[in-house]
């Protein structure tokens, strides 16, 4: 290191370890986009203007968050449709819609917008109901639609999905094979969350091959149902779900599996 000629050099063993691991902490493109969405959502919710508690992502709970069309897009494109200024209470309504990107499964999670006329002005009030989803389950990429609060519908409070760090409760160090099994399962779940269900299926296949009787076999199969459904392989997804329900009638994941690919 050119600035530190007088410092003792690191040993060869230390250098090798550092060289081997230098690139292993890099984020994936999915990481970058996911965090960007969360950040912009937090800013839109006013978190950027007020103190937030560090590191717990409570910014996302500050209020409105932003819908994304398509699983992953850099920057958020929100085309706001103009609605009319109402005379009463100066009601000005804006609807944020996902942009002109093609409707995807993410858009289908946005509940259908309802248009209701307001009485006095004839202005159209369009609400887009939110679908808050917890981020870290084996579910499709979370989409939360913005809520527009108007004088006519002040009973609607903005809701947002509170983000919580995944609680990791392993009181003792797991044996290494369980550690590997967990790591693979986590990878699959993250791939689903990142909108890459085919990658998730590959991870789950590897998981099934390496740990056919592993501890996490139920979670694996539940994740497989979701991943298959998300990649459009709905028949396969349903077949997997049915096999799961047949073979594991007492599983705590029953409800999630049976609802995963309607």
């Amino acid at each position: 290191m050119k600035d530190f000629d007088d410092l003792q050099e690191l040993s060869a063993a230390a250098r090798t370890l550092l060289d081997e691991t230098r690139s292993l902490h890099d984020p994936s493109p999915g990481d970058r986009d996911r965090v960007k969405r969360a950040m912009l959502g937090a800013i839109a919710g006013g978190a950027g203007l007020a103190a937030t508690t560090a590191a717990t992502g409570t910014a996302a709970a500050a209020g409105t968050t932003i819908a994304t069309a398509g699983g992953i897009s850099l920057g958020l494109k929100i085309a706001a449709a103009v609605l009319l200024a109402g005379a009463v209470g100066g009601t000005t309504l804006l609807v944020a819609n996902p942009s002109d990107e093609p409707a995807t499964r993410a858009a289908t999670h946005v509940a259908a917008a309802r248009a209701t006329p307001t009485g006095s002005t004839g202005a159209m009030v369009v609400e887009v109901a939110p679908e808050p989803e917890p981020r870290r389950e084996s579910e499709p990429a979370p989409v939360v639609a913005p809520q527009v609060e108007t004088a006519a519908t002040t009973s609607r409070r903005p809701r947002a999905a509170p983000r919580e760090p995944t609680p990791s409760v392993e009181p003792t160090a797991p044996p290494s094979s369980l550690a590997e099994e967990l790591a693979l399962l986590r990878r699959a779940q993250r791939a689903i969350a990142a909108g890459d269900p085919s990658m998730a299926v590959r991870h789950l296949d590897e998981l099934a091959e390496r740990f056919p009787d592993g501890v996490m076999v139920e979670e694996r199969e539940a994740a497989r149902v979701v991943a298959l459904c998300e990649s459009g392989r709905r028949e396969d997804a349903r077949a997997t779900a049915q096999r799961f329900l047949r073979e594991r009638p007492a599983s705590p994941l029953r409800a999630r599996v049976s609802g995963a690919c309607p």
Partner: protein, 199 residues
């Protein structure tokens, strides 16, 4: 606000209701924030990981760093290096995060997982994971100050003036801390190897 806002290229635009008034305000993520984000996200992410933030928390920590950037973007004017500014913010966010963890009774961490690199076979994957665990074990034995200077010097290869700025210390302090950090790291590595050999 009247009229309508079109999506503006890469800038994020949101129209939000102002409570009570029936009007709306536009919140735009400043183009500068997005530029900084796109340029520095990787650095902030991997620095957070190297400073010991668990995978399950790194999203939140990184997000918080950029929220601080957003709040304090005006403070940045005139600084020489975005990277060192970000690292300084990161250190504070990580410290806050640890306090929160302690208050909540501590979370143990799930084992490391690595995003599969294209073309890796399972053995390469397992070996990489193992090396990474060793690195984390060794870094974990450094105190925060030593770890920070070690990570910046040995993994990011910042220059001494950059490190001084990032850590908020004089150059002499950078030198002495790095000397001590290297010594501690080597000692930890030596202990690790001794344990491995005894197996």
């Amino acid at each position: 606000m009247s009229g309508h806002e079109e999506a503006m290229g890469a800038a994020a635009v949101a129209c939000l209701p102002e409570s009570g008034s029936g009007t709306h305000r536009v919140v735009r993520a400043a183009p500068r924030l997005e530029e900084i984000y796109d340029a520095q996200f990787d650095f902030v992410w991997r620095s957070a990981r190297r400073m010991g933030v668990a995978e399950s928390s790194v999203d939140d920590v990184v997000q918080e760093v950029f929220l601080v950037v957003h709040r304090r973007i005006d403070d940045f004017e005139g600084r020489s290096s975005v990277k060192t500014w970000l690292f300084a913010i990161l250190l504070r966010v990580v410290a806050d995060h640890r306090r929160t963890l302690r208050r909540k009774g501590g979370l143990s961490e799930l084992p490391e997982s690595l995003a599969a690199e294209h073309g890796d076979d399972p053995e390469e994957q397992a070996q990489k994971r193992q090396r990474l665990e060793v690195l984390h074990e060794l870094l974990g034995q450094l105190d925060d100050e030593k770890r920070a200077v070690f990570v910046l010097a040995e993994l990011e290869q910042l220059t001494a003036p950059e490190m001084a700025e990032a850590l908020g210390v004089k150059m002499n302090t950078v030198y002495s801390r790095l000397r001590a950090a290297r010594k501690s790291f080597e000692a930890a590595l030596g202990r690790h190897r001794a344990r491995e050999e005894r197996r």
